[in-house]
């Protein structure tokens, strides 16, 4: 489909920069506009990776939850079992992938925030969380110049 989603977003950024921004005299509004454009560019680059990231992370989180089940309270272990028994959502449905991610991570929060984990569990959790943080597709883009930061 043309223009692709990415072409539309990048084209929007270009026009904001070339046509709109030169007409924004107010420094505050221009700073805000620069931040929006920078984020939109980041988002454009990240977008193709989001569904795949969620799909993989759901799988990895589910695997980790299986491992952590042994240290979980009976209630939490039951919740984990219930969640893992549910079918995985349609890979083309990003919102469903996101919801599933939320559900699994809520359980992971409980498992990591409470229990007495074995060293192997802690190592697995740390490896998972570190790898996930490295792969997270969305990043904050700073556009504040040093001088503007200086207060």
């Amino acid at each position: 489909m043309r223009p692709t989603v990415e072409e539309q977003l990048l084209g929007t950024c270009t026009i904001l920069e070339k046509v709109v921004s030169p007409c924004v005299a107010d420094p505050y509004a221009r700073t805000i506009l620069e931040g929006l454009v920078a984020n939109l560019r980041m988002l454009t680059g990240a977008l193709p990776a989001v569904a795949g990231f969620l799909l993989d992370d759901n799988q990895a989180t589910a695997g980790l939850l299986v491992q952590l089940q042994a240290a979980a309270s009976p209630e939490l272990a039951a919740s984990i079992a219930l969640a893992l028994a549910r079918p995985e959502p349609d890979a083309a449905d990003r919102a469903a992938l996101d919801q599933r991610n939320h559900e699994l991570r809520e359980l992971l929060s409980q498992a990591l925030g409470g229990g007495a984990l074995t060293p192997a569990m802690r190592a697995a959790a740390l490896a998972h969380m570190t790898a996930r943080a490295a792969r997270a597709p969305m990043r904050y883009v700073s556009t504040t110049s040093p001088s503007a930061k200086a207060t």
């Binding site: 005299a25 107010d26 420094p27 505050y28 509004a29 700073t31 805000i32 931040g35 929006l36 984020n39 939320h102 991570r105 809520e106 992971l108 929060s109 409980q110 498992a111 990591l112 925030g113 409470g114 959790a125 740390l126 969380m129 570190t130 996930r132 943080a133 490295a134 997270a136 969305m138 990043r139 904050y140 700073s142 504040t144 040093p146 001088s147 503007a148 930061k149 200086a150 207060t151």
Partner: protein, 356 residues
């Protein structure tokens, strides 16, 4: 990063700014408000003159105005170089001008370079939003001054001045200056008080589960250290809110986060690895040197595990501040798009593992 976060989220103020492009209304508002504020304090003041009224570039959480004021009152002709800090209508980290005013007043007799505070419009009755008027000190802000253009030796001297300044702040006799009543004295370990405060903020602003932050939170709860002393903590100690005049610090600004707590809170903030670029000079002024200097200046032990706890805490707090930004953005009250602070997780894990 937190500098970025101090930015107005209020459309009302922005629209005022927008009008200012054409008309001079914010300037007029500041001048009229300031005159009223001075008359509140000095009823005999008259024949006012305001020159050089200018809003600084930068400063997005609050408006910083520079101006020279003259007037005549019962004691004669007066002249002041002033700085006026006016809250933007709704800031991300609600600051407390009243608290800042009280701290600045208390610091006047201490050996901490800080601007003399003159007048407070605590409810914004005169200036539109809470505002504070203080002396304008010489110097400029540069958050990357330690890695800027100056010679290494000059930068090292500045770095030592910063730690000396921190030690002076921590040496302020807050009991004598009556700051206990204004700021509140922590009951129990300051680490747990701060943790409770920021955990509440975390619960309030989180929009989704963050197992990483819960994992770190559980670790922090188990290892929260006792304080060697209860001192005046600046709460956002960094080069970016100091004035540098020539090659020396002329004043420490931004006291709205000041509170009573563990001295390692400030030390943990400046030695946290995600802020290296601001606080360290590679190969010359790193964690080891900073801690050694602080020990030498204060005679405190600075327990390594405790400092690491405060390092982890300071990164975790930064993460919560970013989540606040995310939440405010999503609620339509903040004009920048922030993201989950995934980049902060690994440094926390590394510090925790190192300490294990």
């Amino acid at each position: 990063m937190d500098s970025d976060l101090k930015i107005s989220a209020a459309p009302a103020t922005n629209q005022a700014d927008a009008r200012a492009v054409g008309a001079a209304s914010p300037t007029e508002q500041v001048v009229a408000g300031l005159e009223a504020l001075i008359i509140d304090a000095i009823p005999t003041a008259h024949d006012f003159g305001f020159v050089g009224v200018e809003r600084f570039a930068g400063g997005l959480s609050r408006e910083n105005w520079s101006l020279d004021a003259t007037w005549v009152d019962a004691t004669g002709a007066q002249s002041r170089r002033l700085m006026l800090m006016r809250d933007a209508a709704g800031t991300l980290l609600p600051t407390d001008r009243k608290r800042e005013f009280a701290v600045l007043k208390a610091l006047e007799a201490a050996s901490v370079p800080a601007p003399k505070a003159h007048w407070l419009d605590h409810d914004g009755r005169r200036l539109g939003t809470p505002s504070l008027v203080m002396d304008r000190m010489p110097g400029t802000c540069d958050y990357l001054v330690l890695n800027g253009d100056r010679a290494l030796e000059t930068r090292l001297n500045l770095a030592r001045e910063f730690i000396d300044l921190m030690a002076r702040i921590h040496a302020v006799d807050w009991r004598e200056r009556g700051l206990g009543a204004v700021l509140g004295v922590p009951t129990g370990a300051p680490s747990l008080v701060e943790l409770a405060h920021w955990e509440a903020e975390y619960r309030r602003v989180r929009l989704e589960p963050h197992p990483e932050l819960d994992y770190v939170l559980a670790w922090m709860r188990l290892g929260a250290p006792e304080a060697e002393a209860i001192v005046l903590v600046h709460g956002d100690f960094k080069p970016g809110n100091a004035l540098i005049d020539g090659d020396h610090i002329s004043a420490k600004l931004d006291w709205e986060t000041a509170h009573l707590g563990d001295p390692l809170e400030d030390l943990g903030w400046v030695t946290n690895p995600v802020r290296k670029r601001e606080h360290q000079i590679p190969g010359a002024w790193e964690r080891e040197q900073i801690v050694a200097a602080y020990r030498a200046l204060t005679g405190r032990q600075v327990d390594e595990a405790a400092l690491r706890w405060w390092n982890v805490f300071s990164i975790w707090k930064l993460a919560v501040i970013q989540l606040t930004a995310v939440s405010e953005f999503v609620a339509g009250r903040y004009n920048r798009v922030f993201q989950t602070p995934s980049w902060l997780y690994r440094p926390m894990f590394q510090l925790m593992e190192h300490g294990a």
